[in-house]
């Protein structure tokens, strides 16, 4: 019954989203004032229904109901509780249901909370949101029904891909999805504003919290995903320029640009057309990402939900929504009033430059990701890797970091160059000192890691200068947010540069009793022991790690795991985290002569990459709280003014 109830809720939610679209459409066309009044309640109800459907699916997974095809295909009764739960979205159908659930709930939130926007723009926004949802409902109901029953229940499920049986999985996909879907809200706002010709600061302020929220989740999702790939895949790398990784990076780049341009629009009323364009681009990147992952059109180590038929469906949705929005843009953009002009040497100017550079990086990643497809159409198959992405991306990323350091130091409207030079003196000095230190003590390192280290220190200093001379307790939260997010970029960059410059790798064929040195550590290989987990058995190495010359030691236990269902072998790296880096140990196979392959890495400051990611997310959160509180205050203030005005009018009338 649970599955049928879930399916019923899904159909009802789909029907309501159609109603939401029609009501919006008719009321905008000027037919039916009353229709406009139902659109908010309908949006709220739709969100509730789809959320119930999703809860039903979770329930089915928790009970391991093997009469449901999806559960039988992706779960197993012996799976730990957390993975039964997370397994709900560890597959195509479940993750698409999660997608529409988040979409429905965000529709509800707009309907409940958004009060500033002009009512026709609001209606158009909700109608657009419904229009996007309908496509995904259709996708679920017609092509990937998660509640499908099997003719007869199977005795046991097929299990979940062991690589996905990790606490990281419980949080990484939903986090990214909230980010992707949050961008769909920004998209709906943009379409709503285009339809009703209402692109201005009020619209920007209404859209900003959604962009910020989506961006925070994308940041955290990418950070978590990168760390997951780092320790779970056992390759010792944290970014592979894999199509699926790029698929999450591209929306982030677009959202970052959007976040900054929406600020310019909200504060100065400028960059109107550009902001609308970016909102459309950001959501198209989410959809392109989903498409690339699901269609299996590109070879990826991450592809676990590949199906060309689904690919065609998503591509059709992509064509309708993005093609439609871009056509609307082409027709309407000329009618958008030109925003305020501004001088190049100002906060806005820096933000525009940052936007251009971010967009360029986005373009580079997009071209690199799609290039194999392009050449395949011409008959050759290629793989594009770090030799392209790293130098070409850096050519734009490095100048962007310089702009990022300088931008926040400039005032809106216009500023003096002399002041900027004075303020940049300290960051430049810090960068110069880093250069000196690295050249003197760092040994031979590549040009990109060197530039990375220099820029990271310069940017770190520059990013905290906006706090200079302020009363820290009275500094608005959104300033804190900007400072911390920018500092986070510097911290992450430092981690990346340090890892690629000073990473030490040792490959040995070792037998128990032998010692090996890597970085500041001496590792002693003690023994190999068999161990067993809930649904796997493993060979585990016992390794003692000791800072060379010191007494205290730690034990590392890398494993080579064998999962029973589905039968898969994975390698579980053992990590020793210290403030100044990580020791990363992987157990390989046994050689014919009884020696074991061990891969040992010392990665100085590698953890800074993810600490930086967390800082960026925290900065976003602070900005979101700061902006929201400020907006609520402003609204209360406006209402006060209105009441006063009414009182005054009433008084005048009485007189």
């Amino acid at each position: 019954m649970i599955a049928e109830a879930g399916l019923a809720c899904l159909w009802l939610a789909a029907a309501l989203s159609l109603l939401q679209l029609l009501a919006g459409g008719f009321s905008l066309a000027g037919r039916g004032e009353q229709l406009a009044s139902i659109i908010r309640p309908v949006a709220i109800m739709q969100g509730i229904l789809v959320a119930i459907a999703f809860v039903m699916l979770i329930w089915l997974f928790l009970r391991t109901d093997l009469s449901v095809k999806l559960v039988a295909m992706n779960s197993h009764s012996a799976k730990p509780f957390l993975y039964k739960f997370a397994g709900t979205w560890g597959n195509h159908e479940g993750s698409m249901l999660l997608w529409v659930t988040i979409m429905g709930l965000s529709g509800s939130c707009i309907a409940l909370l958004e009060k500033r926007l002009r009512s026709d723009t609001m209606i158009a926004t909700l109608a657009a949101q419904a229009f996007v949802s309908i496509g995904f409902y259709a996708f679920l109901l017609f092509s990937s029904n998660p509640f499908e029953r099997l003719p007869s229940p199977v005795p046991e499920g097929q299990g979940l891909n062991p690589l996905l049986q990790d606490p990281g999985l419980a949080f990484h996909p939903p986090t990214l999805y909230i980010g992707y879907v949050g961008l769909s809200v920004a998209f709906s706002f943009a379409v709503g504003a285009l339809i009703t010709r209402n692109v201005g600061p009020v619209f920007a302020r209404a859209m900003r919290p959604w962009v910020l929220g989506a961006w925070i989740f994308l940041t955290l999702g990418i950070t978590a995903g990168s760390y997951w790939a780092y320790y779970e895949l056992g390759w010792g790398g944290w970014w592979f320029w894999d199509p699926v990784e790029n698929a999450s990076l591209m929306p982030w780049l677009a959202a970052t640009a959007l976040l900054h341009s929406v600020s310019v629009l909200a504060t100065r009323g400028a960059l109107r057309t550009w902001t609308i364009m970016l909102a459309v681009v950001a959501f198209s990147m989410s959809m392109v990402g989903t498409f690339l992952v699901r269609s299996g059109i590109l070879t990826s180590v991450h592809a676990f939900a590949v199906d060309p038929e689904r690919g065609s469906f998503i591509l059709a949705l992509l064509a309708i929504y993005i093609g439609g929005a871009l056509a609307l843009f082409a027709i309407r953009a000329a009618t958008i009033r030109e925003g305020t002009r501004f001088s190049f040497f100002s906060r806005e100017g820096a933000l525009v430059l940052n936007n251009v550079l971010l967009t360029a990086i986005l373009g580079i990643v997009l071209i690199g990701t799609l290039y194999p497809l392009l050449t395949e159409a011409m008959g050759t198959k290629v793989s594009v890797g770090p030799p392209y992405f790293n130098p070409v991306g850096a050519a734009f990323a490095l100048p962007m970091l310089v702009v990022m350091a300088a931008g926040p130091l400039l005032r809106w409207r216009g500023d003096s160059g002399r002041k900027l030079i004075n303020m940049m003196a300290l960051p430049v000095l810090a960068a110069a000192v880093t250069l000196l230190v690295v050249v003197l003590f760092g040994g031979r390192i590549g040009i990109l890691p060197l530039l990375g280290l220099i820029l990271a220190t310069g940017l770190a200093i520059a990013s905290i200068i906006p706090l200079w001379g302020r009363n820290l307790l009275r500094t608005p939260l959104n300033i804190w947010g900007m400072v911390i997010a920018h500092l986070g970029i510097a911290v992450a960059l430092f981690g990346m540069a340090s890892e690629s410059a000073f990473n030490q790798e040792v490959l040995v064929a070792s037998q128990p009793g032998e010692s090996h040195e890597v970085g500041p550590y001496t590792l002693t290989f003690n023994a190999i022991e068999p161990v067993a987990g809930p649904n796997w058995t493993a060979l585990e190495a016992n390794i003692t790690a000791r800072v060379t010359g010191s007494d205290s030691s730690d034990t590392l236990n890398p494993q080579s795991r064998n999962f029973s269902s589905p039968p898969t072998q994975t390698s579980e790296a053992a990590l020793l985290t210290r403030w100044n880096g990580q020791l990363y140990v992987v157990l390989g196979e046994e050689n014919a002569d009884g020696r074991w392959q061990l891969r040992l890495w010392w990665k100085p400051f590698v953890t800074f990459i993810w600490y930086g990611g967390l800082l960026i997310g925290l900065g976003g959160l602070l900005a979101l709280i700061g902006r929201t509180v400020r907006d609520i205050r402003r609204r209360a203030h406006d209402m006060q003014d209105e009441e006063n005005e009414q009182d005054q009018q009433a008084g005048e009338a009485a007189a």
Binding site: S295, V301, I322, L370, T375, G379, T380, L507, G588
Partner: protein
Amino acid sequence: MTNWKLWLPFGLFALFFIVVAGGLISPSDRTITSKMIGKPLPAFDLPQAVADRPALSTADFNTGTPRLLNIFASWCVPCIAEAPHLQALSDAGAEINGVAIRDKPEDVAAFLARNGNPYTRIGADNLSSVQLEIGSSGVPETFVVDGQGRITYQHIGDIRASDVPMLLEKLEEAR
């Protein structure tokens, strides 16, 4: 801004759509007739790519037995995917020589330790010069070379499980 410029994003998107839809509709025909087939290998003499495998030069192919020449790189994702199938070919008795494209010795060694090492010789092609001369446009690619050093077959893209018997057959034909 004039109107046609505003249609530019739409145009770019349409282009994207055509490329992707094309890729989706036509499952790529992976058996392309190479211009190199029947021609002798270009002359090259590559240095060693890793310490435990000898270097590779054209002269090594003139031994009378056909073999596979696999173009790969440690930074290439499909190369990871094809590694087990190369191993299967090697287990079935095929001799495989490798050319590592734009790589570093430590990266190649790490790649081989991770994914298995089916190669008897590996040359390092740090400037892609051999890759260009041999008519290979990307990684991974695999050539069947007969005992006189003539190319008899070119396989573009990663080797999948289904390609293994076909490649063994090609090797047999080249005898």
